[in-house]
């Protein structure tokens, strides 16, 4: 499996995700500079990591979405290639139009770093096939702008097409749109593209892959990718 982690100025979780991929999938990802115009030949998976690309100035992800490498990421996605955007990466995917909607400031206007409970809404995607059906998992979040927002029509379409892949839930496994930690519409934590090959999510599976650090709930996500891309 060949993966590429895009390094934007201001990215800061590229090391965390690269370490998770190397440890779980067995091969180190290529770190690709934002100003490059091509992905390394044979790239299977593109990862847009967390961080504050360009300081998250103007709007989070806005400037990175227009970086030199992004046309190549679009082309990769159009061919059905896998793209994973985590946190700032999700914001970049939305800003670049690869995913619908936008992530705005948390409803309580504060940055929040905490463990969140999520329900895996479907397991027939390349990112979630190693999770149990309806699994409830614990991933940390660390963001100031993770409040997923889209118009009613977009939300309807996302729900109708089953493109909400991760949803924030309460301890009892219920969705609670009123109390959701960042105010996200429909308690959305992660969504996929129509063909399910592009996933964006706010929480950080890459920070929960080691029992020493409290949980390994993030591992199946990377194991799913590894199993899908095994041939490569």
């Amino acid at each position: 499996m060949k993966s590429a982690v895009i390094l934007f100025p201001g990215s800061n979780r590229e090391g965390d995700v690269a370490r998770a991929i190397a440890g779980i999938c067995g091969t180190k990802p290529n770190i690709v500079w934002h100003a490059d115009s091509e992905l390394p030949p044979g790239t299977d998976l593109v990862v847009l990591p967390g961080g504050f690309s360009y300081g998250d100035y103007l709007r989070c992800g806005a400037i990175a979405a227009r970086a030199g490498i992004m046309p190549a990421v679009h082309a990769h996605a159009a061919k059905g290639g896998l793209v994973l955007g985590i946190c700032n990466g999700f914001q970049i995917l939305c800003e670049s139009g690869l995913l619908p909607g936008v992530l705005v400031r948390n409803a309580r206007l504060r940055f929040i770093c905490r463990e969140a409970l999520l329900r895996v809404e479907r397991i027939d995607t390349p990112f979630t096939r190693r999770y149990a059906k309806n699994a409830i998992v614990r991933f940390p979040v660390a963001h100031g702008e993770g409040n997923y927002t889209a118009d009613a029509e977009t939300l309807r379409r996302l729900e109708g097409d089953g493109r909400v892949i991760f949803r924030y839930v309460t301890a009892s496994g219920q969705r609670d749109d009123e109390q959701v930690l960042n105010g996200a519409a429909n308690s959305i934590a992660g969504i996929a593209s129509e063909k399910l090959n592009v996933l964006g999510l706010m929480p950080h599976p890459e920070n929960h892959v080691d029992p020493l650090l409290g949980s390994t709930d993030g591992r199946p996500l990377f194991e799913s990718l590894a199993s899908v891309l095994e041939r490569a």
Binding site: A62, G101, V102, R105, A107, L109, T149
Partner: protein, 80 residues
């Protein structure tokens, strides 16, 4: 040439910052504020003195970067 670009949230979009400011003003004892909505303003210095050209440039800047038209609308004003 100087211009100002105003980027504001579309009216259907919730503005938690504006709401928080409303609440804070109330608790600070500033009366008579019915509602607040927060937006961004960009003070732009342009090289050209040609207004039409400048307007085209700014429109381009807004569409490409300054506004996210999913939730925001923009307005261009000339100051001087």
């Amino acid at each position: 040439m100087k211009a100002r670009v105003l980027v504001t949230l579309k009216s259907a979009v919730l503005d938690p910052q504006g709401k928080a400011i409303e609440g804070a003003l109330r608790s600070l004892g500033v009366p008579g504020v019915a509602s607040v909505r927060q937006g961004k303003v960009f003070d732009v210095e342009l090289e050209s003195a040609d207004k039409d050209k400048a307007e085209a440039t700014l429109k381009d800047a807004c569409e490409k970067l300054l506004a996210n038209t999913v939730i925001e609308s923009y307005r261009i004003e000339f100051v001087g």
